[in-house]
C-alpha cells in the first residue's frame, strides 16, 4: 500500500464540473538509471490509473517512466448523483491499489 492524497469536493450540485486531484507516493523508478555499481535499477512505475464515478469512467491513464516521482494527476468529472468516486492503479509488480472518495449531490 502506498500513500495517496485525493482531493475531491465533498459536496456538489447536479451537473457541476468538479476538479479531482490525486497525489500518489511512488518513486516511479524509470528503469533508465544506474546504481553506484553501474548496474541498471529495474523499472518500477505505476503504469495504469483509472478513475470511475458510480462505475462510469472519468479518466483512464496509461503512464510511462516520464511521469515524475510521486505522480500527480488533475482532471474533471461531471457530478451527477451522490455516490463513490473510485481510484484504482497498478504498478509493475502487478499490485493493484484501490482508493475511494464519497461525494454528495445537493
Amino acid at each position: 500500500m502506498v500513500r495517496v492524497l485525493i482531493n475531491v469536493p465533498k459536496k456538489a450540485h447536479r451537473g457541476e464540473v468538479i476538479e479531482i486531484k490525486v497525489l500518489i507516493s511512488h518513486p516511479m523508478e524509470s528503469g533508465q538509471r544506474r546504481n553506484e555499481m553501474g548496474q541498471p535499477i529495474p523499472r518500477d512505475i505505476i503504469h495504469s490509473f483509472r478513475c470511475t464515478y458510480n462505475n462510469q469512467v472519468v479518466l483512464e491513464a496509461e503512464l510511462f517512466p516520464a511521469v515524475a516521482a510521486n505522480p500527480f494527476l488533475s482532471f474533471f468529472a461531471v457530478a451527477e448523483d451522490t455516490g463513490t468516486i473510485v481510484f484504482a492503479f497498478t504498478d509493475d509488480h502487478g499490485t493493484e491499489q484501490v482508493e475511494r472518495a464519497a461525494i454528495v449531490i445537493e
Binding site: Q32, N54, V57, L59, A66, V67, A69, S74, F75, V78
Partner: protein, 141 residues
C-alpha cells in the same frame, strides 16, 4: 588561469555533463503512429501548457486541454521527443468526464519539444507542441 585548476574545480562543483540517451526521430514518429495510427494531426483547438524554461527536469508541470465537449474527445496523448522513451502518458476520457483537460508532472531529460495530441471521437486528431529549455542543475547529490 591554469587550465588544470579550472578543470578540477569545474568537475567538482558541477556534475559531469553527459548527453542523456535520446530517442531517434524515427522512434518518436513510430511511438506517435503506434497510438494514433496514420492520422495526421491538425493544429488548433488543443492547448498544451508547459513552462518554456524548466528549472528542474525531474518534475515539470504540464497541462493539456481542448476546446471541445467532453463527449467529442477520446483521449489526449503526450510525447517527449528528447527523452530516452518518447511516450509520457495517454489519458482517455469516459462518460463521467467533466472537461477534456488533464494536468500532471513529467520528467524531461533535456531541452526538447513536448507534443500533445488529442484524439477526437470522430477520428480526427489535433496537436500542439512546446519547445522548452531545461537548465542544468548544479551541486547535485
Amino acid at each position: 588561469m591554469k587550465r588544470r585548476g579550472f578543470l578540477i574545480v569545474a568537475g567538482s562543483l558541477v556534475p559531469a555533463i553527459w548527453a542523456p540517451a535520446r530517442a531517434t526521430p524515427a522512434e518518436v514518429a513510430q511511438a506517435i503512429k503506434s497510438v494514433i495510427g496514420s492520422t495526421v494531426p491538425k493544429p488548433g483547438r488543443l492547448k498544451l501548457d508547459v513552462p518554456v524554461l524548466v528549472e528542474n527536469g525531474n518534475a515539470v508541470a504540464l497541462s493539456a486541454s481542448i476546446d471541445a465537449l467532453p463527449g467529442e474527445v477520446r483521449a489526449i496523448h503526450v510525447f517527449a521527443e528528447g527523452n530516452p522513451l518518447p511516450r509520457i502518458g495517454s489519458f482517455r476520457f469516459g462518460p463521467a468526464t467533466g472537461r477534456p483537460r488533464i494536468a500532471t508532472r513529467i520528467r524531461l531529460a533535456t531541452s526538447q519539444t513536448v507534443i500533445a495530441i488529442a484524439e477526437m471521437t470522430d477520428g480526427t486528431c489535433y496537436s500542439d507542441s512546446v519547445d522548452l529549455l531545461v537548465t542544468l542543475a548544479a551541486c547535485l547529490e
